[in-house]
Amino acid sequence: MSTVGDARIKVPDRIGRGEIITVNSIISHPMDTGFFRTAEGKPIPAWFIKDVVITYGDEQVARFTWTSGVSRDPVISFTLKADKEGPLTMVWTDNKGGVYRQSVPIAFTAA
C-alpha cells in the first residue's frame, strides 16, 4: 500500500445466499488535516477522502461522509446482507477531486 488510491476490499471466501457478511476495506491515502508542516516549515495542505459510496449490484447500499479526522490509510468495515450475486463496488472521493474505485464480486458458494 504505497500509491495513493490503492484500495482493497475483502469479503469472506465462502458466502451463502442470505448470509450477513462482513466487508473489510482499506485505501492508501495520506488524510492530511492541513494542520501540519513539513520539516522545512512548509504547511502541508489538507488532502483527505470526504466521500465513500458503496454499491451492491445496481443498488447504493451506503454512503459515508468523512473529514480529515479519519486516520491515514482509512479502513472501514461494514456488513452486507448477501441476497444476490453481483459486484460490490466502493468509490472513494477526496477533497482534491481524486476518485478511487475498487470492486469485488459477491458470488455464492454452491449449496
Binding site: 501540519f36 473529514t67 479519519v70 456488513t79
Partner: protein, 169 residues
C-alpha cells in the same frame, strides 16, 4: 451543582427567548446551563456538552428530538496512546428492515478540530449495523455515536477516551 431538568419546557422557552432577544451569553444562565438547555432531551447521565460547536452539531442532528442512550454500542479503548490511530466499533441491535432501519450514524469527537468527524448513511441492505474504523483524536474527551432511524428516533452511545499523543496537529 444544580442541573436544570433538560426536558423542562420553561428552561427551553427561557433559552429560546434569551436567544431571540440576543441576550444569550450576557448572563441569566451560566454557560453549562445554556448548553444543556440548548440540546433538548439530554439525560442526566449523558456527557456534558463542552462548547457551542458541539451544541450546534447536536442540534443539527436532533432538530429538537430527544437523543436517548441505548440500542447502540461504541467500543473504544479507554486509553489511546497514539491519537493518530484510535480504533472504534459501532454496533446496534436496531432492526434493519425495509420499513424500519438505521438510516445514519453520526460520529462526534468533542474536542477535535472537526468535531463532526463522520456520517455513515446506511440502508436495510446491510442487514445489521456493525461498523469499524480508525480515527484521529486531539485530546482526551468524550466520543459520541448517534444513530438516526428511518422512523425518526435518535439513539446514542458514548465513550470516554484518554489520549496521550495528540493525533490532530
Amino acid at each position: 451543582m444544580a442541573t436544570p431538568d433538560p426536558s423542562s419546557r420553561r428552561t427551553f422557552l427561557r433559552t429560546a427567548a434569551l436567544a431571540a432577544t440576543g441576550l444569550l451569553g450576557s448572563g441569566g444562565l451560566d454557560q453549562g446551563e445554556r448548553l444543556l438547555a440548548a440540546v433538548s432531551g439530554a439525560g442526566p447521565d449523558d456527557p456534558e456538552v463542552p462548547n457551542e460547536i458541539v451544541a450546534k452539531i447536536l442540534q443539527d442532528i436532533s432538530r429538537g428530538r430527544p437523543i436517548t442512550r441505548g440500542h447502540l454500542s461504541l467500543d473504544m479503548p479507554t486509553a489511546a496512546e497514539d491519537g493518530r490511530v484510535v480504533p472504534l466499533i459501532i454496533e446496534s441491535d436496531l432492526p434493519m428492515t425495509a420499513d424500519r432501519y438505521v438510516k445514519a450514524v453520526h460520529l462526534v469527537v468533542d474536542f477535535n478540530p472537526d468535531a463532526h468527524l463522520a456520517v455513515y448513511e446506511l440502508s436495510p441492505a446491510m442487514g445489521t449495523v456493525s461498523l469499524s474504523t480508525r480515527i484521529k483524536m486531539k485530546r482526551s474527551t468524550w466520543v459520541r455515536a448517534i444513530a438516526e432511524t428511518s422512523t425518526g428516533e435518535l439513539w446514542a452511545a458514548y465513550a470516554r477516551v484518554n489520549v496521550t499523543l495528540n493525533g490532530c496537529g
